[in-house]
């Protein structure tokens, strides 16, 4: 009887817990969720090109401040969320087949979370974003665009992406000055990158000064940068031709390979080791040596083999920029070269601005969406190469002039420029250190006789120009790389062939 009473009491206690405490906990959880709001704003009205990068704007609001994580697939971003203040961030997203992008927001302290999905629409034909907040673009121009076989995506300035590569989701953009004025700095930066990378842009009603500034940074010699205003509307044929044209290929990758190859003679060292070891074994067999030597020698050989060849491969990035001093955008070729020194798996982080195509072995960095990880594995004698070619906006540190049939170089930067080379006529000269804001005039000095791969490449690349200067220059894209070797080639005349 007593046992039955005890059982009854236990059941009653469990029922009490179930009825009172658990719902209370659930209520607290849902209360927390109510205090956490997550809104998703896709760029380009939710249209995207499969396999290309687009961007989702994330708006978060919470009554309580604290650290939060937001996650989409493998990408995770952590940030401090201020209390009762909307926080805005954005995510680059790559969708291939799945059209659903899901995000999960989690508070780090209470572990409460909220999830939200957004369905994007694959663009089946070329698309053009029309960024016009005030409706200043005349209907006639919009009509002309509508008649072309493209999808118009009307949008406002706030929806423009913060990552330049998110412009991959569209084929062209029309932007009015009233919308351009509303862009935030980070959006302006991405937009400048897009223009520098030969992005197709029509600017409408822009003041001459701003239009000229943008035209100066436009890549591909401004071939894809069009201007229009109320009095000068673009003809249908010219827009059609502009939409169809594509940028020509960038400098050949093989030329840059010559610079990057570090002659490590791995093959020769390996063969030398092979035969020395075998010769040593033969000597041991022929001469009277103690038994223990036969035991020690192979073990020593194994230790040397492991320590000499089983090293983590060094990763170095090489960037080569080329620009005319008349323009403010440079075309770059960058590559990562990894020589395998054993069996290793690793990853390197590259800025999302640095690559032009999404590789199958890449994924976004967990902590920083602006970086992308490339997974790789090496083995002895293996070599791996990744290459990027694009354009970027930079301030030219030098100005080249020809005064009295002689080159004159003016250092426009605030730093002394060392180790630069000048190509003038048939020869290449080493330049003295160039002080900030000072000029240097050519004084028939002795040509440089260095016979390095860099000299060969410079000679090759500068043949097309009357005068050219090569200076060490680390692209700001790869500042996180300690082993970034970079050069900037500035020439006085545009290339003969179309960029």
């Amino acid at each position: 009887m007593k046992q039955n009473t005890k059982k009854l009491i236990k059941i009653l206690i469990l029922c009490f817990i179930n009825v009172s405490i658990l719902p209370a906990a659930n209520m607290a959880n849902s209360e927390n969720n109510k205090l956490l709001k997550l809104n998703l704003h896709p760029a380009w009205n939710g249209f995207y090109h499969p396999g290309k990068i687009t961007e989702i704007g994330i708006e978060v609001f919470s009554k309580h401040g604290g650290m939060v994580n937001i996650k989409h697939h493998k990408i995770k971003q952590s940030f401090f969320l201020p209390a009762e203040t909307p926080y805005f961030t954005s995510f680059p997203v790559v969708l291939t087949q799945d059209t659903l992008a899901s995000f999960k927001l989690t508070r780090q302290d209470s572990k409460t979370s909220i999830s939200k999905n957004i369905r994007l629409k694959p663009a089946l034909k070329p698309s053009m974003a029309v960024i016009d907040n005030n409706g200043s673009v005349p209907l006639k121009l919009l009509d002309t665009l509508n008649k072309l076989n493209i999808k118009l995506l009307p949008s406002n300035a706030s929806s423009l992406p913060r990552f330049s590569k998110a412009y991959q989701a569209i084929d062209a953009i029309l932007i009015s000055y009233s919308s351009f004025k509303r862009l935030e700095n980070v959006q302006l930066n991405a937009f400048s990158h897009y223009i520098a990378e030969c992005g197709k842009v029509i600017v409408f009603n822009f003041p001459d000064s701003i239009r000229d500034n943008l035209s100066a940074i436009a890549g591909c010699r401004g071939a894809f940068f069009l201007t229009s205003n109320a009095s000068k509307l673009l003809a249908r044929e010219s827009i059609q031709y502009w939409l169809k044209s594509t940028s020509t290929t960038l400098p050949e990758a093989t030329k840059l390979n010559e610079v990057s190859v570090k002659n490590l003679h791995t093959n020769s060292t390996l063969l030398f080791f092979y035969f020395t070891y075998i010769a040593l074994i033969l000597c041991l067999a022929l001469f009277k040596v103690k038994k223990i030597v036969f035991l020690i020698t192979p073990l020593l050989g194994s230790i040397i083999t492991l320590s000499f060849w089983h090293k983590e491969p060094s990763k170095n990035i090489i960037s080569w920029l080329e620009m005319s001093h008349l323009r403010s955008s440079a075309r770059y070729t960058s590559l990562v070269h990894i020589d395998g020194q054993g069996l290793w798996n690793g990853s390197i982080a590259l800025p999302t601005n640095a690559y032009s195509d999404v590789l199958p072995t890449t994924k976004f960095n967990d902590n920083t969406p602006a970086l992308m990880n490339i997974e790789f594995s090496t083995s002895l004698l293996s070599t791996q190469l990744w290459q990027w070619q694009s354009s970027q906006f930079i301030q030219s540190p030098l100005k080249l002039e020809i005064v009295n049939n002689s080159p004159r170089i003016i250092n426009l930067s605030n730093a002394i420029i060392y180790n630069s080379l000048l190509s003038w006529g048939e020869d290449i000269y080493s330049l003295p250190p160039l002080s900030p804001h000072k000029y240097w005039s050519f004084d028939a000095s002795v040509p440089a006789e260095l016979n390095t791969n860099l000299m060969k490449l410079f000679r090759q690349q500068s043949q097309k120009y009357n005068v050219a200067v090569l200076i060490p220059y680390a692209s700001p894209l790869f500042q996180h790389f300690h082993t970034n070797e970079g050069w900037l080639l500035i020439h006085n005349e545009p290339t003969q062939t179309d960029l």
């Binding site: 390996l270 035969f275 070891y277 075998i278 035991l295 083999t305 293996s382």
Partner: protein, 158 residues
């Protein structure tokens, strides 16, 4: 000591031609995958020759040296190619486990050979023919290995 030298020389004469062959392939600037494949082939040939020579040499060595010294000599002949096997692993031609598996297989084969010799010597079966008998049995093992080489090589390198 002479036996130890003989064992070392046997390893030398097995490894050297294989090395010369691999060197020829390496200097022809082959693709990395091709070099990996060539080295893998060389290692497989080495496995066959090394095991075969072990089956022949152990009965002969046992005639001149003690049982324990024969074990030591066998161990040395296993250790001599070790740096080259490690290099093959670093090249990605064979998995590291292959080296261990080969070591175990080598010890098993050597032990069987030594066991046969031990039995024959202990029971004095045809005492005057003991060397020839043990060599015959060891050659039988070698023939068995040779007959099934695809099977155990596949197990070793994968």
């Amino acid at each position: 000591m002479n036996v130890l030298r003989s064992s070392t020389l046997i390893s030398f004469f097995i490894i050297l031609p294989l090395l010369i062959w691999v060197t020829g392939e390496l200097t022809e600037n082959q693709s990395h995958a091709k070099v990996q494949y060539i080295v893998q082939q060389a290692i497989q040939i080495f496995y066959c020759l090394h095991l075969f020579s072990t089956c022949i040499s152990i009965p002969i060595f046992c005639r001149y040296i003690s049982f324990s010294e024969t074990i030591f000599t066998s161990l040395i002949s296993l250790l001599i190619p070790l740096p080259l096997l490690i290099l093959s692993w670093l090249m990605g031609s064979i998995p590291w486990f292959s080296i261990i598996k080969y070591g175990i297989l080598f010890i098993i084969i050597s032990s069987i050979c030594l066991f046969i010799i031990l039995i024959i010597n202990k029971f004095r079966i045809l005492a005057y023919l003991s060397e020839g008998t043990s060599l015959f049995f060891c050659l039988l093992i070698a023939a068995f290995l040779l007959d099934n080489y695809l099977l155990w090589l596949n197990w070793l390198v994968n």
